[in-house]
Amino acid sequence: MGRKIQKIALIGNPNSGKSSLFNVLTGLSQKISNYPGVTVDKKSGKLKLSSGDHVEIIDFPGIYSLYPNSSDEKIVVETLTDPDNENYPDAILYVAGALELEKHFLLATQLKELQIPMLFCITMSDIGDRKGVKYNTDLLSQYLDLPVIEISAMEKTNIDALKYRLIELIHSSGVKKWQGSQILTSTEQQLVDTVNAVMPQSNDFRSLLIAHHHQWLNHLSSDQRSKISDSLDSIPYSSTRLQIEETLLRYNHFDPLIRKSIIKSNSDKTSWSARIDSLITHRIGGPLIFFLIMFFVFQAIYAWAETPMTWIEEIFSFLSTSARSSLPESWFTNLIVDGVVPGLGGVLIFIPQITILFLLLSILEEAGYMSRAVFMFDGMMQRVGLNGRSIVALISSGACAIPAIMSTRTISNWKERLITILVAPLISCSARLPVYAVLIGFVVPSKTVWGIFNSQGLAFMGIYLLGIAAALISAWVFKYIIKSDERSFLMIELPQYKRPLLSNVLLTVKEKVTSFIYGAGKIILLISIILWFLASYGPPQAIQEAKNEAMSIADQQGIEGDEREDLLAAYHLEASYAGHLGKFIEPVIRPLGYDWKIGIALITSFAAREVFVGTMATIYSVGSTDDELTIRQKMAAEINPLTGKPRYDMATSLSLLLFYVFAMQCMSTLAVTKRETKSWKWPFVQFSFMSVLAYLSSLLAYQLLS
């Protein structure tokens, strides 16, 4: 008989040390999946106890109360108000930080009302000891009618005792109604009765939560929702008022108890952490330090990622060549060699940069710096319709918009979150870099400026700033377009600075990189295969004619070997479906200074922007080399038949550069936007406004300069 796997929910305030405990308990068995019906990632891991029990530990997002704000936080209430939910816990491991224990009691007493077996765990006892904080745990345990245990995830003390308590917990039977339970007011009783009439609950507090949250709880059927809503309309009450009263009553109830249980308290009010803050968040010094840190982060991304990126490139070109030589000549081999392998390579090539970015960001986060950045920039961000928390997403976007968009889940206000999602892809991501590298040479000749700077380096920086400016300005415009009645607010703890825990950092990096591979990878791969088809096949007759023509030219001019292959490939591409598409869109892009060849590159860029370089290489029949310099020379030699001047003159190149800065050329980002906003409307809006922005700026640049 297979034993049922018990589910243990890890619940606590943000910064309670919950994640560290989760990492200690589950280590590498962690996995990320989805909560049913919502997009919030579910973090869970397995733990085998000495009793032979296998338990699943679910790390729920940190919350302060069962009256939640952000979509991250709502998931906790969604799960706990629905005993049929697949994640409804058999037991709760409640995590509270040793310092400021009182702030962890509001949520603990609310959870206690739900009559789920619970263990109260005080973490960071090592910090508590150092600060000389001491509690009478017997008194706390008596009051809460719960086992209370003190542990340290950092120094791994009492972890075995904790596991032993967990065994007791999952084998305990039933939970009595708590003595400290709050007596419902008559209005609250009416709310409970209303809910029970529609969907009977075994617990009154659960009914009360459903009454307060019935509008957004997903597990209610629309019928239940409208019935509850109709009945509640006849009761004169204010949900906010009731929540405030309930919260205050709880504070009044547990406050005296906490006072009594404090044996020693933390008297050191101006800690060293606060002294660091007076510099780190200083009016002038703060932003300056922030920009220095960001400068270092992006330097590191580009400097450290280069070598592993070259390896990945070499591995994939080796795979392509060896597959080509060992597999028989067939369409399937072509699919593998020209479609699947480069597609996979196109995904994996970004891993070094993304890994480094998230490594550095999670170190900053773990150390406590990111919440300071949120605090510093909230005012500026508010002015353009964003939230201080948007800064994290905008920085991540410098590597890739996909994890950036996923990181907006902590923004509680829907409008601010939506605007962050919409504008994040305007920040130049790493996929645009190879394109910039090819084009910038045509726009800005390389020379030394003011003795120390390289003009092209400056141009690079200018392009980045352009992306940032476009993001902020677009956000500001959206602020006036998107309507919302929801109140916006910010409440973020500035935790004590601490030394980052390596295992926490590494697990976060692993989580982010995996979500990128699965989020973007699948689509990039799929699009690569579609594009391979479009570029490999065409109307049979046209393909044959192109081949004949190329062969006769090659024969006449005596072109042999690789060059001959490249020439054939170029003619083939022109005759393919991709070539037809390029010619089809030529009239639209001609005002921007582009021909059908650039048109093909624009189309193929939808898989991922850096595909531009590869496509250019094929078009200009240098497919057999991947050297940027060779491609650039070919492009430089190309003549525009209408003007008789070089095709890639300043005007066209700048126009193309601007197009790549602003255009939404990333299917994966659109897919993630769809997933996060749960509608096709927003990816459509995002695609449209960015395309319009790209088209108009390129048009303006080309028409003014040519």
Binding site: K103, T247, L248, I284, F489, M491, L494
Partner: protein
Amino acid sequence: MERNEIYVDRNLWDLQKGEESTVKNFNDSALACKLLTIGIVPKARIAMIRKSPFGGAVCIRLGGTYIAIRKSEALCILVD
């Protein structure tokens, strides 16, 4: 004029940098509801530590915890 000002409620935003006071009440119930959950409750001791570089937010100390909140939230917290 002077007499009247004594009766005007002070809010958290009015406090000087580093000044500590006691929370009296709130003038906005929707925001109060959120602030209560992090422990900003009547009778709590609260200190204004500093305002953010670009305005808009303020860092406060509540017991031994430092928290950043927006100006609009600070304005709704009435203090002694």
